[in-house]
């Protein structure tokens, strides 16, 4: 059953040096506050998994916490490249970074296989694509019924997955609404799962019967962190802070500017600051 904990406790209990960890969110509901707590706790040698590593992965990579990243699109959506990730890949700063690169279809299938307890995922993918020549984890499997050659990738099985969601109820069930991404699969594929939520409500009696609800017993820890996905968004609570994504491109340009920003905005604060960061972004759906 999920424990209600402080974010500090939840990260400390669930994330260890050397872990394989997913902070999932597909544009929406990205668990920024949880990743910032991991930065403050100075975790290292992490293997990070995510379909769409964006700002917060750029930050963790730039802080030297990451030895490998498994991903399918590493960019600042609509803005450009991830400058800290580039610096690590191109110049090994602050550390060399190993990359395992896939397509979205393969990553989504790999999470699903992880959730399904399968060792690998099969898909009709990577046809003619260069990634299969540079990533030894992209292989082929022959359909035993038709003889068709399909792509195969290993299942994703994180030690721990972090997600952000709109609500938990008092029993510890979690509701995810809007663009649900790959979060359900990421939670069910992981050994442990930590969820930050906008709020805790009494019950889910008014929730649609087909809503995306993760039962309490699939989750290790729940932490209430209003605004915890900023500058991403929480559907129904606050809108995406597009300006912050644009600003990040400048902040991440040089190493010193990046480090100063991290000190002021991550290291020297705690998760309670997130609520104020979204105060001007309310009113959106």
């Amino acid at each position: 059953m999920a424990k209600f904990q402080s974010l500090k406790q939840a990260v400390s209990e669930n994330l260890k040096d050397g872990d394989t960890v997913a902070f999932e969110g597909f544009t929406h509901l990205i668990p920024h506050a949880a990743a910032h707590e991991a930065i403050r706790q100075g975790r290292k040698d992490l293997t990070l998994i995510r379909m769409t590593p964006d700002l917060v992965y750029d930050q963790m990579i730039g802080m030297g916490m990451v030895k490998k990243v498994i991903f399918s699109y590493a960019g600042n959506p609509g803005v450009g490249l991830l400058r800290r990730l580039r610096d690590a890949v191109e110049n090994a700063w602050p550390l060399p970074l190993e990359i395992e690169e896939h397509s979205h279809a393969a990553m989504a299938n790999a999470y699903e296989a992880g959730a399904a307890g399968l060792p690998f995922a099969a898909l009709r993918g990577y046809m003619g694509a260069g990634l299969k020549d540079v990533n030894p984890n992209i292989r082929e499997v022959t359909c035993p019924f038709t003889g068709e050659t399909l792509a195969a990738v290993p299942a994703v099985r994180p030690d721990v997955t972090f997600i952000h969601a709109q609500k938990a109820n008092k029993k510890g069930d979690v509701l995810v609404e809007g663009i649900v991404g790959v979060q359900k699969e990421a939670v069910l594929a992981a050994k442990r799962a930590v969820v930050t939520v906008e709020e805790v409500v009494d019950n889910f009696d008014d929730v649609h019967p087909n809503a995306c609800v993760l039962p309490s017993w699939t989750i290790s820890s729940i932490c209430t962190v209003p605004g915890g996905s900023h500058p991403s968004y929480a559907h129904g609570y606050y809108i995406r802070d597009n300006a912050a994504y644009v600003d990040w491109d400048k902040i991440a340009t040089d190493r010193e500017g990046f480090q100063e920003w991290m000190k002021a905005n991550v290291l020297d604060v705690d998760e309670t600051i997130f609520e104020s960061r979204v105060s001007g972004l309310k009113g959106g759906k």
């Binding site: 597909f26 769409t52 399918s72 490249l81 979205h104 898909l123 790959v182 995406r240």
Partner: protein, 259 residues
């Protein structure tokens, strides 16, 4: 009544015209997104627009900055999980047109958005393929839109992020892909379609005021022009107004968020 328009506007509008009311279109971010929504707001009101975040049948009032802005979910017929998006809807063969942008493109419609230089020792690390490798193989056909530059339109892409027609001819079928692949390229200067045999992009029409020399000067391969080369129809007033209103709404919305 001729109106002034920019080459960017011409590109978006020419691209929008290729989409039909019955299309089920998988929309790439950036230039494709603008073209798809202009189509929806002009001649193709019932077109189904799908973004890889899982939003199916979306009708955004403003253009999203990312493929997962809340606006896309709010206006969608339904929003599905990302694994379902790629498995049932894309791999399942439901998409008629995949609309992609490109950082680097060659004359056979192969796209690179992964690296400039060697993969293991890159000169520039780009964001990567995202959904594109399978959009390129599973969509019924592929439209591409990009601005022409010597850096962008190259003789040979550094990396095959998304397979177009490979080295041309029947390469696509030879490796077992059954979909059509790139059938249209719209740049800021011209409309291109692949030669039916060689699969090399051939300029079909030049946008108003554009010369052959301009097209060649911003393209890294030797350009072939169709025998019956024509001029792209200039934007209509409706097309221009629709695009400009959409851009203005988008700008206002994104600036409003920053306030």
């Amino acid at each position: 009544m001729a109106q002034e328009f920019t080459s960017d506007e011409m590109m978006t509008i020419a691209a929008s015209r290729a989409l039909g009311n019955d299309d089920i279109c998988f929309v790439g971010i950036g230039a494709p997104s603008a073209a798809c929504n202009v189509a929806r707001l002009t001649h193709a009101p019932d077109i189904t627009l799908i973004y890889e975040s899982g939003t199916i049948g979306t009708a955004p009032d403003v253009l999203p900055l990312s493929i997962g802005d809340g606006e896309l979910c709010d206006t969608a017929v339904t929003t599905v999980p990302v694994p379902e998006m790629f498995r049932y809807w894309l791999q399942g063969g439901r998409i008629t047109v995949g609309f992609l942008g490109a950082a680097q493109l060659d004359k056979f419609g192969n796209i690179n958005t992964t690296v400039i230089g060697d993969y293991h020792n890159p000169k520039t690390r780009l964001p990567g393929g995202g959904g594109a490798p399978e959009i390129a193989s599973s969509s019924g056909e592929i439209f591409i839109t990009m601005k022409q530059t010597l850096r962008g339109m190259v003789d040979k892409v550094d990396f095959y992020t998304s397979f177009g027609h490979g080295t041309g001819g029947t390469h696509r079928q030879d490796i077992g892909i059954t979909t059509k692949g790139p059938t249209l390229l719209v740049t800021d200067l011209a409309v291109w379609r692949p030669d039916p045999e060689t699969k090399e992009f051939v300029v079909q029409s030049l946008h108003p005021g554009v010369t052959r020399e301009q097209v060649q000067a911003t393209c890294g391969w030797t350009v072939t022009f169709a025998d019956n080369l024509s001029e792209t129809a200039a934007p209509t007033e409706l097309e221009l107004t629709t695009l400009r209103d959409l851009k203005a709404r988008t700008k206002a919305a994104h600036e409003g968020e920053a306030a």
